[in-house]
Subunit: 204 residues, 2 copies
DNA sequence: CTAAAAGTGGACTAATCAGTCCAGTCATAG
DNA sequence: CTATGACTGGACTGATTAGTCCACTTTTAG
């Protein structure tokens, strides 16, 4: 009732405050999970107050929805920058290397920010829908990349690019989960290599 | 200090009480996650009292360790019963079907009980180690199955069965995560099919 | 200028949580 | 039988939590 609905006015200052809250919440959730992130911690990290938070969000669940959306934009932006210029299998393997390197840089901690949200929120309808959309957009990015490879190589063999994108994403998520558990990028490398070999076999 | 250490006496009644607590906690954690499972809820579900819980466990973290171990035994027992009698690729595909069917029966909810624990506990050293051991045992089960297939088929081609087990497990985990998000077994089926095709290519 | 609305600060509440404590019951070894 | 220790019931505490409320300041529209 006290929360911002669609179309409600928002001054520049208001927008900035809201953004500060979402940014701080996203960072805390990525580091500690939804359940282990208290609103008080968000307020402290964003230098705001209770009344501000409840001015812009109906409740914690509402804030979590905003966090999912922001995290989605962050993750997709990272991959989009790599996948946009994709036009060969070698480029896909460079993407693989970048993903592995990113995981290595954080010592394999945290896993995928979106994947982690799934196991915590997948039983709540609205968050689950949002995450499903995020993965769909991620797959679309991969499909676009595959198509670019196909176009460049000339051989437009008939195969389901969407299915390929799904298995690549599954390999990525599964690989990251095992990497997070073992604190080694080995499983991630093997899983992505398998998936990319599959792409090569289907595409070429 | 008040908890049960290794070697401490445990009567039959005590063992039963401890088991009841772990069983209830495991079920609640599987359904709602560690952070969303309160000790009071565990007590209510197991029909025990605070003093009993703290008689057998040092604190909540200690109970969580027991939950990880019990959940590991449950999951591995399920897969062991399928993988033990493995001696052909057809058998491996039947295992795939069983995994898919199991996911379908719960409407893809919950994902893998061990995988879900990872994203919630992977940043705590001891739980993470335990989960890493669980996955290592799971991979060993797969390796044993692959070896049985290799022996039966006669062709003992030289390939790294451990790597194969890792990618199959990664495909399973990633597939389950996407299945949980989309509420469809499609991603799980595709990911497992890809991994098993890989096994076939490497093994035969 | 001025009034209405947007935005803010922080005290407060009620519920829930992990963990403590102690008085007691039960089982069993000697 | 009896004493020791395993086992149990549940009240209690202090900390933390999400969420409420109201007085106040700042911005904006007319």
């Amino acid at each position: 009732m006290a929360s911002i609905e669609i179309g409600q006015p928002l001054t520049a200052r208001g927008k900035a405050t809201r953004a500060r809250i979402v940014e701080a919440a996203t960072e805390l959730v990525r580091a500690h999970g939804v359940a282990n992130t208290s609103l008080d911690a968000v307020l402290a990290a964003s230098d705001t107050s209770k009344s501000q938070l409840y001015h812009y969000f109906a409740d914690k669940d509402d804030l979590v929805l905003a966090v999912i959306q922001r995290q989605t934009e962050c993750v997709l932006a990272t991959h989009e920058s790599h996948l946009r210029k994709l036009h060969s299998l070698a480029g896909l393997r460079r993407w693989r290397d970048a993903v592995v390197e990113l995981s290595r840089q954080t010592d394999c901690a945290g896993g995928c920010p979106l994947g982690s949200l799934v196991s915590e929120l997948a039983e709540s309808p609205r968050p689950r829908e949002l995450l499903a959309e995020s993965f769909a957009r991620w797959e679309a990015l991969l499909v676009a990349g595959f198509r670019a490879i196909q176009v460049r190589s000339g051989t437009s063999r008939d195969c389901d690019l969407t299915e390929l994108a799904t298995v690549v994403l599954a390999a990525l998520q599964g690989g990251l989960l095992l990497a997070q558990t073992t604190r080694s990028t080995r499983a991630l490398e093997l899983a992505l290599d398998m998936a990319i070999d599959r792409v090569e076999a289907q595409l070429a």
